[in-house]
Amino acid sequence: MKPVLKKGITSHQIFWPLVGLALLLLFNFFFTKDFFLLEMKDGHLYGSLIDILNRASVLMLLTIGMTLVIASGGIDISVGSIMAIASSTIAVLLSGNMVDVNGSQHFVSNISLGTALLLTLGFALILGLWNGVLVSYFGLQAIVATLILLVAGRGIAQLITSGNVITVYHERFFYIGGGFLFGLPVSIFIVGAVFLLTMIFVKKTPFGLFLETVGINRVAARFSGINVPLITLICYSISGLCAGIAGILMTSEVKSSDPNTMGSFIELDAILAFAIAGNSMAGGKFSLGASMVGALIIQTIRTTIYSKGVAPEVMLVVNAVIVIIICSLQSERVKAMIARLQLRQEKA
């Protein structure tokens, strides 16, 4: 029999994550009351679906950066710490005083919102660059290089806020994490914009091709004339920047900055989202879209668990089981086993 070249929709990487997400939504359709209900209140859309998108935004941002970094053959375990640093930076920058204007109290920050945002993003970018330089120019292992910032990050964040939880009073700043645009939460648009920009950068410039080459074989990439350190550096910088945006988003949403808890262990969720999407942890080929679906799956599971009234800590066990299943499915041994089963079925 001549081998038939099958290239159906199942061969796309995004297919299986989408099936997973669809199954989760189907489960909620039957077992969670009013899950698909969308309501218009004061021109804003409300509902569980919107809620999932909104709450997943921080994780999606981190996953974008994480996808590029792991695709380059590395890992970035410092994103949670960068988030905490960005959060405390913006909170401190936006401090100010109450000013009496026409008899009513108004909050005026010491520096303008735009400057504060730019400074914070710049700081996050520098932290990403720091990781990138350690990995690409000093040749450190990615996990060791980013471990340094993971350990130091929370200390730096506490240093910035002097160890306090800082409450933010800047009204316009809250629009980023709590506002609405065209009836949808602003955070969705921010994630969408970052995703689109990254997609354009990856698909419309040679960067994406170079990145996959570096991830698949560093040495071969170097010999074919690719500037490997530069590509690696860009990945970590984007990851740092994404973590910075995520930190700002989260601070705006909760209206305060807690250097101890902000983004703690979220790097693990981002790695999980990447792995669920069927991307290879060893680097190389990757799909940003699938990663986004991965992040949505995690948030959907979380929302489902909350709505079922299960203790949120149990989420950790669910995460563990998912990681184990997904990673086992990706392994050669299980793939060979499935192939053998298929062969037996065809023979029968």
């Binding site: 200390g155 942890m281 800590e313």
Partner: protein
């Protein structure tokens, strides 16, 4: 320049021990009451469980892997012990056996996933970390205190030592574990296989070493060791809580790296790890003695130390490789002139 007569493979360990001694000396000059037998022993008492889990972590890292589950394993064991003792009133000996078994089982799970399913060590042990912490919360989300007479007795027992100082049973267990690990690492086939696999897994396989078995066993050993660490932690804290020892795996890894173990595997000493952890502990003590410094300086100081150590290791590695390539060129030239 005088040449220091030590083998290059000991350089990192000697540096680590040197730094520790220097820190102790500096501490005794700068702070009153720092120099004292009890103060130094307290360092061991307060870090005993960390040293124990770091020993297991060291062997895993030497084998070329990593174990992120050691901190959550401590929480899990503390929770199992507290729940079985306080809520179910089980026999304490049985509880200790169950706790040790739990560590071994989680380690076995890691080992199988990593060795037979080719899951990256980072991801497999991450899953283990989620699993053990999650299961601790499934048992209870509150703190459960332990009031079992045997556990309390072990916890409060003080062994008199020189100069009116004392040791805890945890320290004795730690020292015993250290001896066991030195034996495993340097005097057994298993230990030598770990070093060989860490240096080059493929060569180890071609040499006919039992690579798969060794890799599984090293994770089982780490899981088992972290459950011993968990029990020592129970004796220290006398309570079980799902959030105990959060982030402890980072301290263990940092201690291992500061102790001179290479994250790429194949190089390292368990003794170095003990001093690496003690350096972390002494930094904490410094900051406590200083009084006006806040706790977050500990983390920053440890990170800076990590950075310095990794940089030193890189330079040493680069020098070694340079020497190797020079030798290779010389050998080729000699061969050419011989022809």
């Amino acid at each position: 320049m005088m040449k220091i007569p030590i083998k290059s493979k000991y350089t990192s360990v000697v540096i680590t021990i040197g730094i520790f001694v220097a820190l102790v000396v500096i501490g005794s000059f700068v702070y009153d009451n720092f120099w004292g037998a009890q103060n130094l022993l307290d360092l061991l008492i307060d870090n005993s469980f960390l040293i124990i889990v770091a020993l297991g972590e060291t062997l895993v890292i030497i084998s070329g892997g990593i174990d992120l589950s050691v901190g959550s394993m401590i929480a899990f064991v503390s929770m199992i012990a507290a729940y079985l003792l306080t809520t179910l009133h089980c026999n304490p000996i049985l509880v200790i056996l169950i706790a040790l078994g739990a560590g071994g089982v989680v380690g076995l799970l890691h080992g199988i996933l990593i060795t037979y399913f080719n899951v990256q060590p980072f991801i497999a042990t991450l899953a283990g970390m989620f699993l053990t912490r999650g299961l601790s919360y499934v048992i209870s989300t509150d703190t459960i205190s332990i009031s079992n007479p045997l556990f309390v007795a072990i916890s409060e027992y003080r062994i008199p030592f020189l100069f009116d100082s004392f040791l805890s049973i945890g320290v004795i267990i730690t020292l015993f574990m250290l001896l066991v690990f030195i034996y495993i690492a340097h005097y057994t086939r298993f230990g030598r296989s770990i070093y060989a696999i860490g240096s080059n897994e493929q060569s180890a396989r071609l040499m006919g070493l039992p690579v798969n078995r060794t890799k599984v066993l090293v994770y089982v050993l780490s899981g088992f060791t972290s459950s011993i660490g968990g029990l020592v932690f129970c004796f220290y804290m006398l309570s079980g809580y799902g959030s105990h020892a959060t982030g402890l795996e980072l301290d263990a890894i940092a201690g291992t790296v500061v102790g001179g173990t290479l994250m790429t595997g194949g190089v390292g000493f368990v003794v170095g790890t003990v001093f690496g952890v003690l350096i972390e502990g002494i930094i904490q003590t410094f900051i406590n003695f200083q009084g006006n410094l806040n706790s977050w300086w500990t983390r920053i100081a440890i990170a800076v130390l990590l950075l310095i150590f990794i940089a030193v290791q890189r330079i040493l590695m680069a020098k070694r490789e340079q020497k190797k390539s020079v030798k290779r060129v010389e050998a080729i030239e000699r061969a050419a002139s011989a022809d």
